[in-house]
Amino acid sequence: MATRLPAVDAVLIGFGWTGAIMAQELTEAGLNVLALERGEWRDTPTDFAPTFAQDELRYYWRHELFQRLNHDTLTIRNKASETALPMRRLGSFLLGSGVGGAGVHWNGQVWRFLPSDLKARSHNLERYGKKAVPDDMTIQDYGVSYEDLEPYYDKFEYLCGVSGKAGNLKGVIQAGGDPFEGPRAREYPNPPLDMPYAPTLFGQAAAGLGRHPFPHPAANMSRPYTNPLGVQLGACTYCGFCEKYACGNYSKASAQTTILPVLMRKKNFTLKTNSEVVKINLSADGKTATGVTYIDDKGQEFEQPAELVVLSAYILHNVRLLLLSGIGKPYDPATGEGVVGRNYAYQITSSVNVFFDDKILNPFVGAGALGTIVNDFNGDNFDHSGLGFIGGGYVGLLQTGARPIETHNTPDGVPKWGAAWKAALARDYLKTTTISTHGAVMSHRGNYLDLDPTYKDALGRPLLRMTFDFTDNEHKMSDYLTDRAAEIGRAMGGREIKVNYRKGSWDVVPYQTTHNTGGAIMGDDPRTSFTNRYLQSWDVPNLFVLGATAFPQNAGYNPTGTVAALAYHAADAIKTRYLKAPQQSLVQA
């Protein structure tokens, strides 16, 4: 029997980036806010101090910062005709767990989507005609424009202290920045990070081919920074342990290093950890969320009433909790109807290794978003006529740090083990670098999320089932990007290159990217979207669903900047409009 607790104004389910952003905004508006996080409390000095934060075995290979799959995982299959099996080891994506979520072990790559990314359907139809979007490609417009989101992108970049160089200030193209980006109101808060040798060589080669290289915008501090909330971040030491690690030096933006020092001091904010929400409770007519039911790690069950419910967990957990709570119509790929689980998407990556004989590149120097990028082949920055695909991605040389256990690139023809492998590795470690491509995945009728009919979690609830594969569009696009990367790789002037295309079906084993999207998408039509443009549920107006859950399809950029901008956009609508007329839809369908 659940213990009923005193009501709060707002309850947040999950306490990573979006939970922290929403909690900060709603407490500023005077609401009494409770955040429920199923994982543990974690902070820099106690959990990832610089004396042990750079422990590759502990954190990457033994997954200390990640979700524990013996508690909860998901089942995976490539297509509906297969039987999905549980993911028993993390591979393709690295789910977060605990306070700060996956935002603790991210790289700090902060991007804005292109204006055309946010209206992928109408833009591509307009430019390339009806044939450009096949029937099974279920892409949609977001329902918000780049102009709508610009102030919120800006807010997040200043919260995080992003190091970068603007390429488009109020419509005026800036030398040294990304000329393809949407116009921004002002420069980044911090200058770019110092560029190491390999990304510098990449930039020179790319420029020689007529591309437009610029420094990757990074939530790794190029200098000490105090953000608009008064929170202090230290300068990055280029230690090379961002990706898959937490930062011990307060140099990478996370909820812990940008918001929590202020938020946790507020009397109208409460955080409960080790508290897993098992259900969003609805009124008898199903039109109002009355609160949530959660279980602590002793198995005690609590009912937490709330006026406003914000679902701010990772996208896969958001979708599963909606399905388990019976909110919204589950998506059916046979009919194309239903909205929960619809338009699951991902990203597609590939790489090109460049081996030098005469250049010491010191690849262990690194930061999560340290590198040189070209966006000439991202989104619709290039003419897709005759290419047979839409979308694109960036090509870049990111020097994130060559951690010793993980990093062993060897040229074609070298054995995978033994004396010859060791000799090649010893010869090439300091003289090898890698260009990566990071491409969009469009949504497709057969790619979706639902509940697994067989497998259950530690609490006896059905696991989420993921049905996903790359389509022809993704493979053509990725191959095209990879060829462009190889051109630059060759132009860098090394001894040889090795091109690693992404071939075949999506495979859950090798690490690719933790950029899962969709499943409860935003839009203008309740029949094809779960939320309106303010991330407010069409069916249950006092429920907001944050995160990349809202993306109708994925873009060629890392998602966090857009995830945060959408959260701020929603928070602003709640503060300025929703709270004046609670329980009402902000958009009339």
Partner: protein, 423 residues
């Protein structure tokens, strides 16, 4: 600081917990409904309680405000702070304003018994009657809590209260002057603020060393640096505005407040008025440079080379290779008083246990230094401490592995972070 960390670690380690944050013990409380209107005298008393940092000793970790029970580790044994809520059985609910005045002014309890000087009446004797009455009025408004702190753990003969009479003869002079002293700053520093309780060296009996006011003192395995005008080990290089900034925000271009001073900033100085911290700064800047110069250290080049190597590997990420760090984020080491004090206790302790910059409203980030107790042995800690005490123009006596071993036995059982991996 130490007890804040304990609060914090308990929150971190216990399951399904409401999370409290460093220096924010009240974070989980719901906002008070309608605070009662305070009289002018009560508001004045509340502000004086902030200056006196009453909570610093009379709140125990996780306990209700001012109910006492915090263990104070004195050289003579453990004394538990008293319950000063207006509970009639266990607090000071039956005390009159005169009783309260006698405690502050003379160190005598309502029942006539002597208070132990862990309660700093040698400083509080400078509090005026008007201030005493305001404090009394404020304490009457605090929620009464029925709680009896544990009995003191004092060995014979210190458990005989009567002996305090003799201690008072040697160490205590009741203030009979009718005025509040020459300046506001002096009145706070030497009176209610009781800065000398930590910052003045002590005699064997625990009394202030006559003629050495504010020259730096050792207490409970910390060394509180001198507040004199000395450039190396005191405040000589700090402008008055920097002192005020430190007291108000917990950091400035020279140092970050942590350890027991972090607690003082959190509960007392950061909440004082701007005029009061400016007055304190002005008074402290009037202190002359008067420490005995320490002779140049005899340095073993091998130890210095070892210390430098350790420093570059372990310390430079935050403090930078040149020691200049990032002022107000991570404190610079050249010129730092904590680094160059004659007694190295605090610098060794920082290395062994780590430390955490106080979070204030103005500067909410509790930037932290990790514990190296598990990573560096006594000789390594000694080498790196000796290195930072004698580099970039710094000069102070070398630290021996024995110094480190002695302190490690006392404090290293309390690391700042979780000691081991989950898997």
């Amino acid at each position: 600081m130490a007890r804040r960390l304990i609060t914090f670690m308990l929150a971190a380690l216990s399951a399904a917990a409401v999370v409290t944050y460093p220096a924010s013990p009240g974070a989980q409380q719901a906002p008070a409904a309608d605070p009662p209107v305070e009289t002018q005298q009560v508001a004045y008393g509340r502000a004086l309680a902030v200056i006196g940092d009453c909570e610093g000793c009379h709140d125990r970790p996780g306990g209700p405000p001012l109910a006492g029970g915090l263990p104070l580790n004195t050289p003579f044994g453990v004394i538990y702070s008293a319950n000063i809520t207006p509970d009639r059985e266990t607090g000071i609910g039956t005390w009159t304003a005169d009783d309260f005045w006698n405690a502050l002014h003379r160190g005598v309890r309502a029942n006539g018994a002597k208070l132990y000087p862990a309660f700093p009446y040698p400083y509080f004797t400078h509090v005026t009657r008007e201030e005493s009455d305001a404090l009394y009025a404020y304490f009457r408004t605090v929620a009464p809590v029925s709680y009896r702190p544990p009995a003191n753990k004092l060995p014979f003969p210190f458990n005989i209260r009567f002996l305090v009479t003799f201690w008072n003869m040697l160490n205590f002079k009741e203030d009979t002057a009718p005025t509040t002293g020459p300046t506001r700053g002096e009145h706070i520093v030497r009176g209610l603020g009781h800065c000398g309780a930590c910052h003045t060296p002590k005699t064997l009996l625990g009394g202030d060393k006559t003629g050495h006011e504010l020259e730096g003192g050792k207490l409970d395995n910390w060394f509180a640096p001198a507040l004199t005008g000395d450039v190396r080990a005191g405040l000589g290089a700090w402008p008055a505005a920097a002192i005020a900034e430190y007291l108000k925000t917990g950091r400035n271009a020279h140092a970050n407040a942590s350890g027991p001073m972090g607690d003082v900033v959190a509960h007392s100085t950061s909440q004082m008025s701007g005029a009061d911290v400016a007055a304190i700064a002005t008074y402290l800047k009037s202190q002359t440079a008067r420490l005995e110069p320490t002779p140049p250290a005899t340095l073993d080049p091998k130890v210095m080379a070892s210390g430098q190597a350790i420093y570059v590997d372990q310390c430079a990420a935050c403090h930078a290779v040149d020691g200049k760090a990032a002022p107000t984020y991570f404190p610079p080491l050249p010129g730092a008083a904590v680094t160059q004090s004659r007694d190295p206790t605090t610098v060794i302790r920082f290395i062994l246990s780590g430390t955490q910059t106080v979070a204030t409203d103005a500067r909410p980030t509790p930037l932290s230094m990790p514990s190296f107790a598990w990573k560096l042995d006594d000789a390594q800690v000694a080498a790196v401490a000796t290195y930072v005490r004698n580099s970039w123009g710094n000069s102070a006596p070398a630290v021996s592995p024995g110094d480190v071993a002695r302190l490690r036995r006392k404090v290293a059982a309390k690391p700042v972070q979780k000691p081991s991996a989950r898997i």
